[in-house]
């Protein structure tokens, strides 16, 4: 990624008049963290960057707050929002657009072909205690990590997020500007899902019981998910109440299964839910199981086509009906 | 140690539907089952209690009756959410749970000798009703009583029969209004804040208490000041979502004060020091 070209492009877009803000990344002052940047001025743009540390999904901010930045059907003459989107982010964007959750005309998408990002906990563990502002670039199969006056080359495999190792959508599917060369795409594979499918019932019970016993019900997974944007979420409704608020294995299981089902055919596979979880729940297992089943049952993959009709709002005579007589 | 979360049993003595339409308000008169509970439930006008339906939940409701009305404890409740809907299903003879009384109260001792002005809108009349009955039952302790009360339509007016009866009394002045003209209504038509300006109550030796929808309160406060009421003469109540009622669960705070235990009664002077109350 040529960060200078990126900033020049960002400046050009912001100066085009009716762009309210440009959502990108900026480097935090210390260590390896980046933060979402809501750039409005040229001064803000100077802080924009893209590097292997950019691990947050910015698309989430488009749907995070009610009455948020973009309403479906709103007119393009009004303020636009520019946003930096990696492969997975653009897939989420694609799905939201297909659902008519956002107006395309009000978006300017800076697509970034993404070779994968770094797992923050891994790099923080690798360089424990280092607080200098890190600079990380990818060269060959390694990350070049600059901390103060020191430079380190770390094999990519050691730091790359698990989730990115499985990514099959590295290149943006929706964009107005493409920043960088397309990245080689790998075919989807589901070894992790198959491993759980192969477990016996007793093994599965033990596996999931331990996982859901850890859940804190902090709602970070739901809040971080770009596709979770219902005005009244099923997980917190009280009238009627679908999920009890008690935190225990059973109610936690209901919580996560309900969310997985509500995301079936919609989950864009960005992995934010797993990234944000403070107790490291392997939530993508549920979503990827759904993704695999949706492909098998309906030939459907979420977030690949802006014109695609939402799978559960469409009826097709060829839909499997073997559960009805 | 007393368990402040454990509610007491009460029985509904009577249910009266005050309003019809979508905003249904019913007045529930409750009697605590246990004698010692009944005797120790001593409250003052302005205080609230947690009414509960086992298995559904609890809701903090202001006490409508005055402690001088000893037969029962009255609560006027608008059907809004899960708990109030469950309460609205109940009939005379049904049980409810009760916890309280909670919060502070109107400083009625300080107001002795003063003229009392209540300005209410809709369900806001409920806590004001507690003041009115207390003052009427201690009539010689207080000066003139003026009740200004209005609602959207006659169907939304609470305590209609009682207020029409009070209109005919010599020792109290009642000024009712509805927002929109209606067949058969020959009293004032307009919003409560406008009625207040029209009546021009004197601030001399008076205290004004207002309760009602936030937009009404905003204009009533403005108009009271315009009429010459000092900030120290004005009182209102705040409400917020509540769960524990005792200042532990954290959610009902307005800045540093908890509506459940430091409120619901606040003077205008106090409100001005609470930025989160947004009185400007």
């Amino acid at each position: 990624m040529d960060n200078q070209r990126f900033r020049d492009e960002a400046k050009r877009i912001l100066s085009e008049g009716n762009v309210r803000c440009l959502i990108g990344y900026s480097k935090d002052a210390a260590g390896f963290r980046v933060s979402p940047l809501f750039a409005r001025t040229e001064g803000d743009v100077e802080r924009l960057l893209f590097s292997p540390l950019c691990n947050i999904s910015l698309v989430n901010y488009l749907t995070l707050e009610k009455g948020a930045l973009l309403e479906s059907g709103a007119r393009a003459e009004e303020d636009k929002i520019a946003i930096v989107a990696r492969g997975c982010d653009s897939r989420a964007l694609c799905q939201i657009l297909a659902e008519k959750g956002i107006s395309r005309e009000r978006l300017i998408v800076l697509g970034v072909p993404c070779p994968g990002v770094i797992d923050l906990s891994r790099i923080e563990a690798r360089f424990q205690g280092r607080r200098e502002c890190a600079e990380v670039t990818e060269e060959g199969g390694a990350y070049l990590v600059r901390l103060g006056n020191d430079s380190y080359a770390v094999p990519k495999e050691e730091l790359l997020a698990e989730h990115c190792k499985r990514c099959s959508f590295p290149n943006p599917l929706v964009y107005d500007v493409l920043l960088g060369e397309p990245v080689a795409q790998r075919k989807p594979s589901y070894e992790d899902v198959l491993a759980v499918e192969a477990m016996t019932l007793e093994e599965k019970e033990k596996f999931w019981k331990e996982i859901f016993g850890r859940c804190l019900r902090c709602y970070a997974c739901r809040n971080a998910c770009p596709l979770c944007y219902c005005d009244e979420c099923v997980l917190e409704r009280l009238s009627p109440q679908w999920i009890q608020r008690s935190v225990n294995g059973g109610d936690n299981l209901s919580f996560h299964l309900a969310r997985a089902y509500h995301l079936a055919g919609r989950c864009a596979g960005c992995g934010e839910c797993e990234r944000v979880c403070p107790v490291n729940l392997p939530l993508m297992l549920l979503n990827r199981k759904m993704e695999k089943d949706m492909q098998a049952l309906f030939g459907h993959t979420a977030g690949t086509d802006v014109e695609q009709k939402p799978v559960f709002s469409t009826f097709d005579r060829k839909d499997p009906e073997d559960f009805i007589l | 140690m007393i368990n402040p979360y454990l509610p007491h049993q009460a029985k509904i003595q009577s249910v009266k539907q005050e309003t019809t339409g979508d905003r249904v308000i019913k007045t529930f008169k409750l009697v605590l089952e246990d004698n010692s509970c009944r005797e120790s439930f001593l409250y003052k006008p302005g205080q609230c209690a947690m009414l509960g339906v086992p298995g559904v939940g609890e809701s903090m409701i202001s006490i409508t009756s005055s402690p001088t009305q000893k037969e029962s404890i009255a609560f006027s409740i608008m059907r809004m959410g899960k708990v109030t809907s469950a309460i609205h299903e109940k009939e005379a003879g049904d049980p409810l749970t009760l916890r309280g009384p909670y919060g502070n109260h109107f400083p009625l001792d300080e107001w002795k000798g003063k003229n009392i002005l209540t300005v209410g809108g809709g369900i806001g009349q409920a806590p004001l009703s507690s003041i009115i009955h207390y003052v009427l039952d201690n009539r010689t302790d207080y000066g003139a009583i003026d009740i200004i009360y209005g609602a959207r339509t006659t169907a939304d007016l609470c305590y209609k029969e009682e207020l029409f009866e009070m209109e005919r009394r010599e020792d109290i002045r009642v000024h009712l209004s509805i927002d929109v003209r209606e067949e058969g209504w020959d009293r004032y038509v307009g919003f409560v804040p406008s009625n207040l300006l029209r009546i021009k109550p004197s601030p001399e030796n008076a205290v004004a208490i207002t309760c009602g929808p936030p937009v009404m309160i905003k204009f009533v406060l403005k108009n009271l000041l315009q009429l010459g009421f000092a900030e120290s003469q004005i009182y209102t109540t705040l409400e917020n979502r509540m769960k524990c009622g005792i200042g532990k669960c954290g959610r009902c705070n307005v800045g540093p004060v908890y509506v459940c235990k430091d409120g619901p009664v606040f003077s205008y002077v106090q409100l001005k020091s609470l930025p989160e109350a947004h009185i400007s």
Partner: protein, 339 residues
């Protein structure tokens, strides 16, 4: 104050000799260290690399049954006997212990909470001095320290091959008496080592800030746009509140647990959108800006005005675990420099 030496490899035996107590200690579950009930001290993980989730859940369980309803729908008086059992919490960090003091100021006064009080009075807190504070620790800026004994009954100092144990309370002394045979008088070397460890720990604290300007500026910044800027990247989850040793807000719900109706209280978070949502649909804190502002005011102004102390012990967990990288220290510094 009494002090003792304990050989490090006798620690597990020490814990085993404690009679008639429920032992709680840090335990490693996958990638997370948290305080759990430990039946066998072999499972204790004195993890120096990963900050454990706070011990507050031992006194304020995330889900606590207040009482059950009987078949007629009458509330049944809860049985407090279970909480009367003595509890020994080992490995608490000094910041968490100070955190309990802040929760005490709300739960033990003014209509005391019997559920909390019953557990609190029967809990012995045995702390572990932080020889290696974590990257985001700033306890020293808030009146604490990695070696603080405030709120603790005992404090273990890691002196290399042994621990030096300081006992501050009668409660702590009672427990220690049971393991007398494993304890010795501390040697001069142990005492010297302890002093060295205390010094080094304080030097290892990497982050600090001053709160003076914060309190002063909060008087005038309520309507300032700073809160919107601060909250723009917040995703409004509950991680900061749930991992905070001084946060104590809860929700009360009537629920069915194993087929029986119960009234439970559950941790809640002022950061959630629907925390203050009225049944009418009105929400006095509809956006993240108002909620973040409320949290900052509660901890760094109201708590000080009401109880004389900030509602924060500087453990840094909110900074480490925030998914959007909201940095409390930076946020406080921006409040300080706003005027």
């Amino acid at each position: 104050m009494e002090n003792y030496g304990l050989k490090k490899d006798s620690l597990k035996e020490f814990l085993k000799t404690l009679q008639d107590v429920e032992l709680f200690a840090p335990v490693r579950r996958g990638d997370v260290t948290a305080f759990e009930h430990v039946s066998d001290p072999e499972g204790v993980a004195l993890d120096l690399e990963h900050q454990p989730l706070p011990a507050k859940k031992l006194l304020l369980p995330q889900t606590e049954i207040l009482f059950a309803f009987d078949k007629k729908g009458l509330p049944k008086e809860p049985d407090f006997r279970g909480t009367k059992k003595k509890r020994f919490v080992f490995g608490v960090r000094p910041c968490d212990a100070r955190g309990f003091g802040i929760i005490d100021s709300v739960y033990e006064k003014d209509c005391p909470d019997p559920y909390y009080v019953a557990k609190r009075s029967n809990t012995v807190l045995a702390g572990l001095q932080c020889s290696h504070p974590f990257p985001n620790c700033f306890c020293t800026s808030l009146g604490g320290s990695p070696s603080s004994s405030e709120g603790l009954d005992l404090l273990f100092f890691d002196c290399g091959g042994s621990y030096l144990i300081e006992v501050y309370t009668e409660k702590g002394q009672q427990v220690v008496k049971e393991a007398q045979s494993l304890l010795s008088s501390p040697s001069a070397e142990q005492i010297t080592e302890k002093e060295k460890v205390v010094r080094e720990a304080a030097e290892r604290i990497q982050r600090s800030l001053s709160l003076d300007g914060v309190l002063r500026n909060m008087e005038i910044l309520f309507e300032d746009p700073i809160w919107g800027d601060m909250a723009r990247k917040c995703i409004s989850c509950g991680i900061c509140t749930y991992t905070c040793p001084t946060c104590y807000c809860f929700d009360i719900q009537d629920e069915k647990i194993q087929g029986k109706a119960k009234r439970v209280r559950i941790w809640d978070s002022c950061m959630f959108g629907e925390y203050t949502l009225h049944a009418s649909g009105h929400n006095p804190r509809p956006t993240r800006a108002e909620r973040l502002r409320n949290r900052m005011y509660h901890k760094f102004k109201h708590n000080i005005d009401l109880h004389g102390i900030a509602g924060c012990v500087g453990c840094g967990r909110c900074i480490t675990l925030c998914p959007a990288n909201e940095d409390l220290i930076e946020n406080l510094q921006s409040i300080e420099s706003a005027r």
